[in-house]
């Protein structure tokens, strides 16, 4: 339940950002990162509808790759050894 997913910010209106990740779009609440500037193209870690931290695009990419594996139930990141 503590897992957060990185998403890209596509637009910002007040405390709500329209975000996307791998073709999925969501409204994300920015209240918990209200003291930081959030711009289009930024990446945020999203947990239960709220952004809990800004992350770099590189870190976002790494996490997406991981989530693909976890939710596909694919064999481990290291393959068979």
């Amino acid at each position: 339940m503590c897992l957060a997913v990185p998403m890209r910010v596509d637009s910002v209106t007040g405390y709500v950002a329209r975000c996307s990740a791998k073709g999925v779009e969501r409204d994300v609440n920015l209240f918990l990162i209200q003291d930081e500037p959030v711009a289009i193209g930024d990446h945020v870690l999203v947990h239960v509808g709220y952004a809990i931290q800004k992350v770099t695009a590189e870190d976002a990419g790494t996490t997406w790759a991981l989530l693909d594996e976890v939710f596909a139930g694919a064999p481990g990141a290291l393959g068979a050894e």
């Binding site: 957060a4 996490t63 991981l66 393959g79 050894e81």
Partner: protein
């Protein structure tokens, strides 16, 4: 904080993981080491990535208290079921909570899911914002948000409270903090582990320094990890190297999301909405300073006094667990999931006896999904030193 080594630049995730694994295998370890994690997300990556089987002999990875659903006390689950059944309200909660069983007499309604089937208005939600939307849709109707979670989830709940809390939205708050459970294990004198992999997203919110006590007070190695195999292996390597060199430090192997100060805005909202109290953990008992309580300013939104009868009925059930259920032992890392006599026999994901087989964050559910079946040799290894 130190960085005992970094992954080779430009390497893909899998080859970075391989590099960490090689470094781990080259470490001179003179005694068996048990490394505990306290996050369901970590355990899922470990189990599904098969990391456990890749460890050198003598290195054990132990799932600990990493599932907020699993530690939500029986009495709160029971109170939520009774509130939903006995009052004309809408009860909303994170999806995992619907199937957590209370220990009631045969024939009685034992889950929120069963209460829903019996006609109660129980709705799973994925965000506190859905609770607000449901309350807004019918302002004349009371909506009770049974809010369960660790710090990562309680921060959004606090944000919801601070931004706009509809008059008809009440909270049955059952939030918990992770570090006091680890502190309790360490203070017990038989923690059952030699190093700690600290949770990634809890640390994103609260900052890694919450875990400094592990190193400072107990001279135990500790590293914050992310959720990829290479981040977890980096943290495992870090703690093992600290043991090999007898030089415990607090390491941060998830620097991309975990800043030294955490998220101060989230911490400010949490502190403004909730205070810290001693709180019961399912099957474990009261852990000092481990729970969240609504601040007096939000008393009008506290479901506990409004539904005092149901809360009291729940309180009479304190400490009850289904017969044979070893969830508390699993949560504390005293046994592996496969060491529970009910694992895979009476207790399965489709008919769970205890919460660890219900929740996606529960060690039993994670192990079952990853294909783990009973293993006498492995299950015996963990038990003797911990019992």
């Amino acid at each position: 904080m130190s960085d005992p080594g970094s992954a080779p630049a430009g390497a893909g995730a899998a080859s970075a993981a391989r590099q960490w694994l090689m470094r781990i295998r080259r470490l001179p370890l003179s005694r068996p080491v048990r490394i505990m994690n306290v996050c369901g997300g970590h355990e899922r990556s470990i189990a599904q990535g098969g990391l456990r089987s890749l460890m050198p002999d003598g290195v054990e990875l132990i799932p600990g208290p990493g599932c907020p659903v699993c530690v939500c006390p029986e009495e709160d689950v029971y109170a939520a079921i009774r509130i939903a059944l006995d009052h004309d309200v809408t009860l909303v909660t994170f999806g995992d909570m619907l199937r957590v069983p209370a220990n009631v007499a045969k024939g009685e309604i034992r889950t929120l899911e069963a209460a829903k089937a019996a006609g109660a208005d129980v709705r799973p939600i994925a965000s506190p914002l859905e609770a607000v939307a449901i309350a807004d849709a019918d302002p004349a109707r009371t909506v009770v948000f049974f809010a369960v979670g660790f710090e990562t989830t309680m921060a959004p709940v606090a944000a919801m409270m601070r931004e706009r809390l509809p008059d008809n939205l009440l909270l049955l708050l059952s939030g918990r903090r992770t570090w006091p459970a680890v502190a309790m294990l360490l203070a017990s004198g038989r923690p059952g582990f030699d190093a700690l992999v600290a949770p990634g997203h809890v640390s994103t919110v609260m900052g890694p320094l919450e875990w400094a006590f592990v190193v400072r007070d107990h001279a135990m190695p500790c590293a914050v990890a992310g959720f990829s195999a290479d981040s977890l292996l980096a943290a495992i390597y870090s703690t093992l190297r600290q043991i090999a060199e007898n030089r415990p430090v607090l390491d941060n192997c998830y620097a991309g999301a975990v800043r030294n100060e955490g998220n101060p805005t989230a911490q400010r909202h949490l502190a403004a909405a909730m205070s810290i109290v001693d709180a019961p953990w399912r099957g474990i008992g009261v852990i000092p300073c481990s729970g969240y309580k609504l601040r007096p300013e939000y008393a009008a939104h506290d479901a506990r006094p409004v539904f005092a009868e149901e809360v009291e009925a729940g309180r009479r059930r304190v400490g009850e667990m289904p017969p044979g259920c070893a969830c508390a032992e699993v949560v504390l890392g005293r046994i592996y999931p496969t060491g529970c006599p009910l694992y895979g026999t009476a207790c399965l994901p489709r008919q769970p006896v205890g919460p660890c087989m219900v929740s996606d964050e529960g060690a039993c559910r994670i192990w079952w999904s990853a294909g783990a079946r009973r293993d006498r040799e492995r299950d015996r290894r963990l038990e003797p030193a911990c019992k």
